[in-house]
């Protein structure tokens, strides 16, 4: 399988740079003291649409040919990818067709509609989502943009770590959460080629441990009944992301739901940042394995900040 290279991520970075926020890297002395390590948080919760997903979606839209742009882009998603693709398309004058389950939260429907996307509602099953998307693509000729298992998307997501390392070159470890694996595989692609001495480590909820199981066994394992508060991490790896992760990631740590909530709360209280549960998973892994991370300099990608303020876990 042909895998992306660091040069592809550098190319993506040049391409998306005028369209994305260069998000800040923040540190927090009191969290460092609690962990016994030195953490550098790349704040993609402060990215447009509140998530790193905007990088991959923007790169996918900008990589379309002029002919493709005429037909627009399409995806099925009820989460950050839908909003990211809708806004990336709008800003570039491209139509976005989003298939959403009819039971998606009102606030997400509104956000996607607010970015001018064409929404098609469907039954809330994966089969319905996929068949509805197929039909939309058949009718419109739109180009499918997958939330993670796609070259341009992976390269876009990898630019978060590229930016993080621009000003923080002497890290020991880079950590991300892993759901579908777009961010993790993009990160590993860039980091293991340009900073080979750095370890790339993922955190994953123990209650949605498909990436951990797949990584350990070397064979793809789909997620079964993922019951985690980290709603961004309930998906299985894709064929492309798994291939990259298998080859380039150093390790994956599982974390408990309690640790995720504790880490999320620490980031809210100590750093004054609104982060969604998925974002807290790498910090949860550090907190659960303090001896292993002791005194390390760790870059952590904070993936997003889209939470329902009416429904906080604390």
């Amino acid at each position: 399988m042909n895998l992306p290279l660091a040069a592809d991520i550098e190319k993506a970075y040049e391409q998306i740079k005028p369209f994305v926020h260069q998000t800040p890297v923040l540190t927090c002395k009191s969290i460092n003291e609690i962990c016994g390590a030195e953490l550098f948080f790349k704040c993609e919760n402060l990215q447009k649409v509140g998530a790193f997903k905007y990088r991959g979606a923007t790169n996918a839209v900008l990589s379309l040919s002029d002919e493709q742009k005429k037909h627009g882009v399409a995806t099925h998603s009820s989460g950050n990818h839908a909003a990211a693709l809708a806004l990336a398309a709008k800003i570039n004058g491209v139509k976005a067709h989003i298939v959403m389950p009819e039971n998606a939260p009102e606030i997400k429907k509104k956000a996607v509609a607010g970015y001018g996307a064409q929404i098609t509602f469907c039954q809330p099953t994966l089969a319905a989502r996929e068949s509805t998307l197929e039909e939309v693509i058949r009718q419109t000729g739109a180009v499918m943009v997958h939330p993670y298992n796609q070259w341009e998307v992976i390269c876009g997501q990898g630019t978060a770590s590229l930016e993080l390392l621009q000003d923080n070159k002497d890290l020991d470890i880079i950590m991300t959460p892993v759901g579908g694996g777009g961010l993790l595989s993009g990160t590993a692609t860039y980091v293991k080629e340009v900073f080979p001495q750095l370890k790339v480590i993922a955190g994953e909820p123990a209650n949605a441990d498909d990436a951990y199981q797949s990584f350990r066994k070397g064979v793809f394992q789909p997620v079964v009944n993922p019951d985690t508060i980290a709603d961004g991490l309930r998906t299985s790896l894709g064929s492309l992301t798994f291939e990259i992760i298998k080859k380039k990631v150093d390790d994956i740590y599982l974390v408990s739901e309690e640790s995720i909530i504790q880490a999320m709360r620490l980031i809210w209280e100590r750093m004054k940042l609104i982060v969604e549960p998925s974002s807290a998973v790498p910090l949860a892994a550090v907190l659960e394995n303090q001896a292993l991370f002791k005194n390390q300099k760790i870059g952590i990608v904070i993936t997003g900040g889209n939470v329902d303020l009416q429904n906080l876990p604390f």
Copy 2:
């Protein structure tokens, strides 16, 4: 009365620079669209101890003579100034004596104690706070550091706008909230001398409108029964801060409690930043007076992010 100059704020900046976070300036397209203006948020909620108060406290501690440092610093406060002074003192090896009302929230007592300060509890009245502080100073010889009505504190707070303007020189307006007036007077001191074309405008809760009344009448008016959610703005101006504000501030706008909560929620939801109600007051003023601020480039100092997550107004 001898007033500080921009040069004093530049001196404070050089002095505190190694000790404070250079906080990011963030923008938000959707809030800009809602307001019809272009806003640049200087995020002092991401400052150490979660508030701009750390700047003034650090400048006060660093301005002590060696002899004064031996005796430590003292203040009475139940809010951000107490935590700021405690940490600034600790980092510089100086003792901090903090007088707190015995009914202060547990979390604030803990924070101040966690920074190694010596806490003296007193009855929750201003008279008790002042007499207890006097007694502490008599016993220890500590130097009083006022939360706002003090030269070094005002100069420290002014550095937030100095930093904001380093990368955003073509603003039309700078806005801060006003409580005791330390931040507003420091801002006006720097801005009106170095960028005289800029307007300096404050937002104040209508339910705690002493600065507005004092500014309008030209005569100091103390606050009476301040009943506002913006807990950082319930104090009256000081003699020094009022003198500066009277001379250098362009205007003060009053805002309703509803606007404060609405603006706070906008910042939480759209910017993914945890801000305390006081921080939202300038944005509330923009939202209440959209025609006046239309198309203006406005720098806003986000003052702090210390809120009780168990007790949110939304």
